[in-house]
C-alpha cells in the first residue's frame, strides 16, 4: 500500500521510499525515512497534498510523492 492510499488518522510505518535518488534525498531532508511512524492528519481536495504528522513535525506531501512511499498499517 502506498501512503496516498492509506486511511486518514491510521498509524502507519514507512517501509520503503521508491523513486530514485532525488525523491529519497528530499524525504530524507525533511526528516522522513523508512522505519518512521507517520499519520495522515488531513488531505486537500481534488488530488491535493496530504498533511502528515511525523514525530510532531507537520509535513505537506504532494500526491505524486506520497505514492512513492510504501507503508504498512500498525496495529
Amino acid at each position: 500500500m502506498n501512503l496516498y492510499e492509506a486511511d486518514d488518522q491510521a498509524e502507519l510505518r514507512i517501509l520503503l521510499i521508491t523513486g530514485g535518488w532525488e525523491v529519497r534525498r528530499s524525504f530524507n531532508q525533511i526528516g522522513i525515512q523508512p522505519g518512521d511512524r507517520v499519520r495522515i492528519l488531513r488531505r486537500a481536495p481534488f488530488g491535493g497534498p496530504l498533511m502528515i504528522d511525523n514525530k510532531g513535525t507537520r509535513v505537506a506531501v504532494g500526491k505524486q510523492l506520497a505514492e512513492q512511499i510504501r507503508v504498512e498499517v500498525l496495529p
Binding site: 530524507n28 486537500a44 498533511m51
Partner: protein, 739 residues
C-alpha cells in the same frame, strides 16, 4: 572573526542574526550565483564579529542550488566557527544537519532555539546530555524574546578562539567501515595532488573564496602537503581516542589499518597551534590542514547523486578531493551489499538512526496538550472551510492594502501637485528645464505617491502572513489547483497579489525555490490585471461599453492565464516531483522580523525602481516638450494600424509602460477630448483596453523582474507578453469584424 550561522529553514536563524546585526546587515550574492545570503558586523558584549547568515538548509548533501552553494561556502573554510541553530521543538529532525556539520570536525556551537515552543509541545530536553553526546557546547535560547542570544555568540567566540574541534559522530559499522576506507583513499589522493603541485598559499577574499578554488588547490590542501611532507604526520596522530564509548571513534580506522600509505593528516591540535601563532584572533578553517576532513568528503561522495560525477570542490568537476570513480563505485557497491540499500539511502538511514537514538536519549516527549492551534488548523486547512478562510484572508488583505494605500496616495499626491504649482510660479513653464524638472517631480510622485502607499502595507502584510505561518497553509490548499498551471501551491500568493500590484507580486516569487517556478509565477502574475490596469478597464470599457464587458475582460484574462500556464509548463517542464513542505506551527509574528523583512524588500524596490521611474518620466516630459510624439506615433503606426486604432494612441502606449494608468490619462490628452467614445469606436476602445491589459508590464515591474529573474528571462517574458497582447487584440478585432 567570522561566524557562520547554519540552520534548517524556520529554525529562527535569522531572528538570531537580526537581533545582533539588525539594520546594518547587507544582502549579497554568492560569487557567480543568484543565491543570496545576509552578512553583517555585530558587536556582542564588546567583541566585533563578522556574521554570515547562510540560507536555510536541511542538509549538506545538496538537492538545490541554494544548498550546493551553502555547502561549498562551508567547504571553502572562510570562517572560524559555525553556529548551528536548531528549532528545539523539531529536535529529532534538526539533529540530522547537526550530525552532518559535526562531520566537518570544526569549531561549532549548537543553539537550541525555540525552547518555549518545545516546552509547549510537551518536550523536555536534557541539554547537558546533548552537549556531552555531541561534543560541542549547546546553548538554550528563545530567539524571539532575545533570550540566550548573547550567550550563544559569546560561547561561539570562545570556541573559535580555542579552536576546539569536535569529533565526527560515528554511524553504523557497515557504513563507517566502507566510508573509512574511501576516506583513506581520498586523503592519499589529496596528499598526492598537493605534493605534486605545490602552489603559493594565499589568503582568500571573503565569500569569493568559494569560487577561487577553481584556479587551483586550496591553501588548506597546500598546508596539508607541507605539514605531511615535513614529517609531522604519523599514524599516532590520525586516530583520536574515543570520547564516549560506542558513540565516538577514530575517524577512518579501517583505512589506517588497511592502507599501505599512512592516510589522514596532521593532528588537529598541532595544526591549531601553528595557525594560532600566525593569527591569534582568527582561526579560519581554510588555514587548517585537514579541512575539509577526508571522511566528510567520502560521506558526501557516497551520498551524492550516483548519476553525476561527485562534485566536491567548489563546483570543479574533478578536484583533488574527488575520489576516483573506481573506488567510489566499489564503496557504493560494498555498502549496498552490506546493507541491502542504495549507498546514499544507507548513509542517510545510518545518520537517521543515530539521530533517533540521540533524540530518545536526550529528549522526553509528554503527550502534547490539544491547543488552539490544532483547532485553528482544523478550520484553516479544512477541505471546504479552509477555502472560505483563504478567500476571507485575501479579501481582507487586499481591502486593507487599498484602504491604506488610497489614504496615502491622495495625501501624498496633493503634496506633489502643490510642488508642481510652486514650480510653475517660479520657473519659466516654456523652458526645457521646466519640462525636465516637472518630469522628475511627476516621476517621483509616481513612485512615492502611487506605488509606495500600496507596496508598504502589502509588504508588511506579506511579512506578517509569512511569519504567522499561514503562507505554507495556502500552499497546501492551492496545490491541486496550481498544478493545472504547471506550478505548486506555494505560487498562489504571487499570482493573487498580481491583482493588486505587479511589483510586490514579482517580488513575492522569491518564496519559490526553482528558477522555473519563479519565472512562470512572475509571468502569470504580471499577466493578471493589476489595480492600475483595473482603472483603465473600468474607466474605458466599463464606462463606455458596460460592466459586463469589463467583467468579460477579467474572465478572458483568467482563460489566458490558465492557457499560458499550461503552455509554459510544456515548454519548461517541471523537474521537481511535487510538494514536500514543512507546515510550521502558527506563531505570533515578531514585529522586529516583520519590520526588517519589510525594510529589506522596500529598500530593494527603492534602489531599483525609483531611478527608473524618475528618469523615464523626465524623458517622456522632454518628448512632450520637444514635440517628438509625432515621430513616436509614426514609429508605432504599423502596430496601431494592425490593431485598427487611431494613430495618435501610439504615444499613450509608451506612457503606459511608465505607469499603466497613464495610458488612460494620455489617451484623453492624445485624442484631445475626455469623451473617448466620440473619438474612438466601441470596438476600438475594447481593443485598446485589451492591448493595454496584456502588453508590457510597467517600468517598476520590469525593474523588479530584472532583479528576480535576470535580464534574459525579463526580455523573454516581455517579448512573449507583447506577442500575446497582439494575438489577443487581433483575435478580438477578428471576432468583432465577424459580428
Amino acid at each position: 572573526m567570522k561566524v557562520a550561522l547554519v540552520g534548517q529553514p524556520n529554525s529562527g536563524k535569522s531572528t538570531l542574526f537580526n537581533a545582533v546585526a539588525g539594520y546594518r546587515s547587507l544582502t549579497s550574492n554568492f560569487a557567480g550565483t543568484t543565491v543570496e545570503y545576509t552578512h553583517g558586523q555585530a558587536r556582542v558584549e564588546g567583541m566585533v564579529l563578522e556574521l554570515i547568515d547562510l540560507p536555510g538548509l536541511y542538509s549538506l548533501t545538496p538537492t538545490s542550488a541554494v544548498e550546493e552553494v551553502s555547502r561549498d561556502y562551508l567547504l571553502g573554510g572562510d570562517w572560524d566557527v559555525v553556529i548551528n541553530v536548531l528549532d528545539a521543538s523539531q529536535l529529532a529532525r534538526s539533529l540530522e544537519l547537526t550530525l552532518e556539520l559535526l562531520d566537518l570536525e570544526s569549531p561549532m556551537v549548537v543553539c537550541l532555539n525555540m525552547m518555549d515552543e518545545a516546552a509547549r509541545k510537551g518536550m523536555t530536553i536534557d541539554t547537558h546530555a546533548l552537549e556531552v553526546a555531541l561534543g560541542v557546547p549547546v546553548v538554550e535560547a528563545i530567539g524571539a524574546r532575545g533570550r540566550g542570544i548573547n550567550e550563544t555568540f559569546r560561547i561561539a567566540e570562545e570556541v573559535a578562539k580555542t579552536g576546539r574541534r569536535p569529533r565526527a559522530f560515528v554511524y553504523a559499522p557497515d557504513v563507517e567501515r566502507v566510508v573509512g576506507e574511501l576516506a583513506g583513499k581520498i586523503a592519499v589522493r589529496i596528499q598526492g595532488e598537493a605534493a605534486g603541485a605545490p602552489t603559493e598559499s594565499g589568503t582568500r577574499s571573503p565569500v569569493s573564496g568559494v569560487r577561487s578554488e577553481q584556479s587551483g588547490p586550496s591553501p588548506s590542501l597546500d598546508r596539508a602537503a607541507i605539514a605531511c611532507n615535513g614529517g609531522h604526520c604519523s599514524s599516532a596522530c590520525c586516530g583520536h581516542s574515543p570520547a564516549m564509548e560506542g558513540q565516538h571513534g577514530p575517524r577512518g580506522m579501517a583505512a589506517v589499518a588497511e592502507l599501505p600509505v599512512q592516510p589522514q593528516t596532521t593532528p588537529p591540535l598541532a595544526n591549531l597551534h601553528a595557525s594560532e601563532l600566525q593569527s591569534p584572533v582568527t582561526n579560519h578553517q581554510s588555514q587548517i590542514a585537514d579541512f575539509p576532513p577526508a571522511r566528510f568528503l567520502a560521506l558526501q561522495s557516497v551520498q551524492s547523486d550516483p548519476r553525476h560525477i561527485p562534485v566536491l570542490n567548489g563546483g570543479v568537476p574533478s578536484g583533488p578531493w574527488t575520489p576516483d570513480s573506481g573506488p567510489l563505485d566499489r564503496a557504493r557497491k560494498e555498502i549496498n551489499l552490506r546493507t541491502g540499500l542504495p549507498a546514499d539511502a544507507a548513509v542517510s538511514a545510518a545518520r537517521h538512526a543515530a539521530c533517533l537514538t540521540l533524540f530518545e536519549r536526550v529528549a522526553h516527549v509528554a503527550r502534547p496538550k490539544a491547543d488552539w492551534r490544532e483547532q485553528l488548523d482544523r478550520l484553516a486547512m479544512h477541505r471546504i472551510w479552509g477555502y472560505a478562510v483563504l478567500a476571507g484572508v485575501f479579501l481582507g488583505f487586499f481591502r486593507l492594502i487599498f484602504d491604506v494605500g488610497k489614504l496615502g496616495e491622495d495625501r501624498i499626491l496633493n503634496v506633489f501637485d502643490l510642488l508642481v504649482a510652486v514650480l510653475t510660479q517660479h520657473m519659466n513653464p516654456q523652458s526645457a528645464l521646466f519640462a525636465g524638472v516637472k518630469g522628475a517631480v511627476l516621476g517621483t510622485a509616481g513612485a512615492v505617491a502611487i506605488v509606495l502607499p500600496y507596496l508598504l502595507p502589502f509588504l508588511v502584510g506579506l511579512a506578517i502572513l509569512e511569519d504567522i505561518g499561514y503562507l505554507s497553509r495556502v500552499g497546501y490548499l492551492m496545490d491541486a489547483a496550481m498544478h493545472r498551471l504547471g506550478l505548486h501551491g506555494t505560487a498562489t500568493l504571487p499570482v493573487l497579489v498580481g491583482y493588486g500590484c505587479s511589483v510586490p507580486a514579482v517580488m513575492a516569487t522569491r518564496i519559490l525555490t526553482s528558477r522555473r517556478d519563479r519565472f512562470i509565477a512572475a509571468f502569470l502574475a504580471v499577466l493578471v490585471p493589476c489595480s492600475a490596469r483595473m482603472t483603465v478597464i473600468f474607466a474605458l470599457v466599463g464606462f463606455y461599453l458596460g460592466a459586463n464587458y469589463a467583467l468579460g475582460i477579467y474572465v478572458l484574462n483568467i482563460i489566458v492565464v490558465a492557457l499560458s500556464g499550461a503552455i509554459l509548463a510544456r515548454i519548461w517542464p517541471e523537474i521537481s516531483p511535487g510538494m514536500l513542505m514543512e507546515v510550521p506551527a502558527y506563531r505570533v509574528p515578531s514585529m522586529r522580523v516583520v519590520a526588517l523583512k519589510t525594510w529589506w524588500r522596500l529598500r530593494e524596490f527603492v534602489l531599483v525602481a525609483f531611478p527608473l521611474l524618475v528618469v523615464g518620466s523626465v524623458v517622456l516630459s522632454l518628448v512632450d516638450f520637444y514635440g517628438w510624439q509625432h515621430g513616436i506615433n509614426a514609429a508605432l503606426s504599423p502596430l496601431t494600424a494592425l490593431l485598427g486604432l487611431p494613430r495618435s494612441v501610439g504615444l499613450t502606449l509608451i506612457f503606459g509602460v511608465l505607469r499603466k494608468e497613464l495610458s488612460l490619462l494620455m489617451l484623453m490628452q492624445a485624442l484631445g477630448t475626455t469623451h473617448v467614445l466620440g473619438a474612438m469606436t466601441a470596438a476600438q476602445i475594447l481593443i485598446f483596453t485589451l492591448f493595454v491589459t496584456f502588453y508590457l508590464p510597467c517600468m517598476a515591474t520590469l525593474a523588479s523582474m530584472m532583479r528576480e529573474l535576470g535580464w534574459r528571462l525579463t526580455l523573454a517574458a516581455s517579448g512573449a507578453l507583447l506577442a500575446l497582447a497582439i494575438v489577443v487584440s487581433l483575435a478580438a478585432r477578428g471576432v468583432m469584424l465577424l459580428l
